[in-house]
Subunit: 351 residues, 3 copies
């Protein structure tokens, strides 16, 4: 079961062109395209005539032309042309999904269109600020549920095991990290302090740390699929008395942000939209490239372990698994998701 009354990332905005793009979202086959007026659109990827996938067609002035017999659909899913006849049957339409283009993403609403409020979309304006936060982005298809990927990001102790050679470093640094957690209506925020710690390989590569560092990560999870991550690191002692002012963090030698967006493809697979934003050497595009490449290496390590985990959970289930102390944030996230799913089910039953 998916939470449907929510905005998911359907695509990076720059993926949407006049070449129709098929993508399965919450187990619905969707076709994404940009019409000749420049507006993005999302339709069910199945012609209402003979069932051919619409992504095999092409965009014309009138809309999306089916590649089989030439029916044309506008952004609202309405059929606007049937070759060989003047009158267009009322039933000739395909389902359209509300979409909004914002902060470099195309957002999609898979639930009741009447409830789709664009104001509730997660904001990440740094994607639009190439001067101060230049970024690179991509999407990874994952053969594991979105929930497993979010789990992964809610328990960062995995960094020392899965990412030892990249962004992780010493396992005990992560296990011993001081953690401040704050609950929010749609998830939680947490800050991890790793003071006086050995910098992981990627950090050394980025800014040439020589000795130990003070390292801070600020995460926020916003249900059902977004996680923002702000990271700062500097020489030991750079932060006032083992904490840090906002100013100190913003002046850190290493400073980057990551956006993690998880969109369910099926019950057991998802799309991982992510970006890496370079705030430490914004004028240096090689630094942005390096940050993106190193982060990608690490996220491929996550992909491998999550896909293997998914295969086991598919076969043997989650019953009997044992929670440990470092699962605290993960468990709060799960409770938030369960609450939202229950609320949606209740609202649906009441209709």
């Amino acid at each position: 079961m998916f939470i449907r009354n929510a905005w998911y990332i359907a695509a990076w905005a720059d993926e949407i062109t006049d070449r129709p793009l098929p993508r399965r979202i919450c187990n619905e086959p969707v076709v994404l395209f940009r019409d000749t007026g420049g507006h993005a659109a999302a339709l069910l990827d199945m012609c209402c005539h003979r069932g051919a996938p619409l992504h095999l067609g092409r965009v014309s002035e009138q809309g999306l032309v089916c590649g089989y017999h030439g029916l044309v659909f506008d952004r609202s899913g309405r059929c606007v042309h049937v070759p060989g006849q003047e009158q267009i049957p009322d039933r000739a339409r395909v389902r359209a999904f509300p979409v909004v283009e914002q902060d470099a993403f195309l957002w999609i609403w898979m639930g009741d269109p009447a409830k789709a409020d664009p104001e509730s979309i997660v904001r990440f304006p740094w994607h639009n600020d190439a001067a101060h936060w230049p970024h690179r982005h991509t999407v990874y298809p994952i053969k594991g549920a979105a929930m497993q990927m979010i789990d992964n990001l809610m328990d960062l102790t995995h960094l020392g095991y899965v990412h030892a050679s990249t962004i992780g470093g010493n396992p005990m640094t992560h296990v011993a990290a001081k953690m401040d957690v704050e609950r929010t209506p749609l998830g939680l925020k947490f800050t991890r302090w790793m003071l006086n710690s050995v910098p992981p390989p990627t950090y050394v590569k980025a800014v040439g740390f020589q000795g130990r560092i003070d390292r801070v990560q600020k995460f926020e999870f916003i249900a059902p699929g977004c996680i923002t991550q702000f990271t700062s690191a500097d020489e030991v002692g750079a932060y006032r008395s083992g904490a840090a002012t906002q100013e100190e963090l913003e002046n850190s030698k290493l400073r980057f942000r990551l956006f993690h967006g998880l969109t369910p493809e099926t019950e057991t697979s998802c799309f991982y939209f992510w970006s890496a934003l370079n705030g430490f050497r914004p004028e240096d595009s090689a630094a942005t490239d390096m940050l993106f490449a190193e982060t990608g290496r690490a996220f491929n390590e996550d992909r491998a372990v999550v896909e293997a985990q998914q295969a086991r959970l598919d076969e043997l289930g989650e019953a009997g698994l044992v929670d440990i102390r470092t699962d605290a944030a993960r468990l709060h996230m799960r409770r938030t998701m369960e609450r939202l799913a229950a609320e949606e089910a209740q609202a649906l039953a009441a209709e």
Copy 2:
């Protein structure tokens, strides 16, 4: 469900040799072979001893030898040799299917053998007339139901969309084509007139048309799986007063015939047996090759769209699809198939 009391094309006759050929037909695993007497045969592809597929064996004087423990079966499926014992158990036999070799095909009957009348087999004698109608033939495995391929051939407006760059040409030419339809006991015949039309790329390649042409296609669908197609084209005005005499059509500058045979492999896949017959330059084997190659390019375009369509229908079903005017021939074909299936089910229930 398949119509079983019908002749299907099992293979091109030249595919049948002393090397056993496995082929799934109406979801039965069948082995096809030619015995040392030159007779084609079709048996269930499973030895009655330990279940090994018989296509792993070889043809001997006595019949088809199982490649596992050496039991031998004749064309009727009777076991004629068991290594290590004189007496052959009565139960030692495998199911045999009636077959007839005719017009370059091996035809197979998947239903009640008592009802298998060779007189009812579709005839296509031009396959035997290499002097006037030289041809090339092949078989395409399609990951789509036979019904979807027949649908495809019953609504030729797809030519302008799927085959724009090959045999299709301008979409509106096909949509506006004048069409004469005639119902028959086992399907329908229809003629499509595209007078004063732009020749598609393949036609120009074939005979070098310079301007617009008059183009005629005569189709016949014969349930459950055969479609014959006679095509003629000539300079505008070649046909008398916008129609054409038989003689005019036979003297057309471009003249070819296609045979389309669809045999179910499973509920969602089929074999597409097809041939292209060159009636415009019969002495020129390069022209026959060209016609075959261009037709093959177009049929691979059909394959792609039908396979994608099948995936959608498998997932979302046909309910809710909307018929349009150009579906008329297709709908008549479907009704014929439904009638035959119903008659067969009724006869079976009455037994």
Copy 3:
């Protein structure tokens, strides 16, 4: 259904290192590894924390470290370390399977650990006698049930059909072989005499037989998955009066042994552990290599036929298959397996 209260071969002992090895046995995902003390171990391949497969981890001093969040398990499956907490929950353990390393194999017990008696393990000490019986070994994954592979080995008349060009030779030699059968508590022994027979290609290659030979094969099947094979061959007349003394067999010109071990992976796939032991030219490693390579060629022929057979049985079942005279040993084997399975089911019901 599998017989579970039995020792199966999990691996060749030399496959077990500090690199965890995943292997599915009786449809359970198992991870095999050797701890730093040199002891082999077998655990369920799923961490009890978040379900990640343990084979993605690594072996440390304390045990097997999960590659996701660092939990550590000892050979008994007990969790001995949870990063971030002192206390280890009682429930934090994974299932361990009894294992024994013996005669070059790692044996595993998939049933009730209380019933796992190492004394009942099949012995094959020649694997340890490199001076007199040097051998090569391997494991073939087979997409066919273990039972189908055992069937294969219980009816050697297949040699003349499946292995005509390798270890088989003339079909009638095998069909006409004189066979002595002796039943045992866990299976059967049988000896096949092929006197005055044409040597198969592999035999000629091995020792250069010029004319016909006397050939003897002694097989023993021990349920549920082991078959030992002792083969001797010599010039015609080498064996006393058409039989042979033990001494004559041991002095045969050609003398080799094969071990066949079948372990279920799933209901329709298995692992085929096999070795070839050179007793005819023990000092000549090229002869051992040749024996191994030729045997492997033959066993790949078995693999192909059994995998094709499995596909048919999966689809059409075994009902209606017809037994023949040469099935006698196979049928006794099947009855033994059925008896053991029934005894196990009965014991389980009585608990």
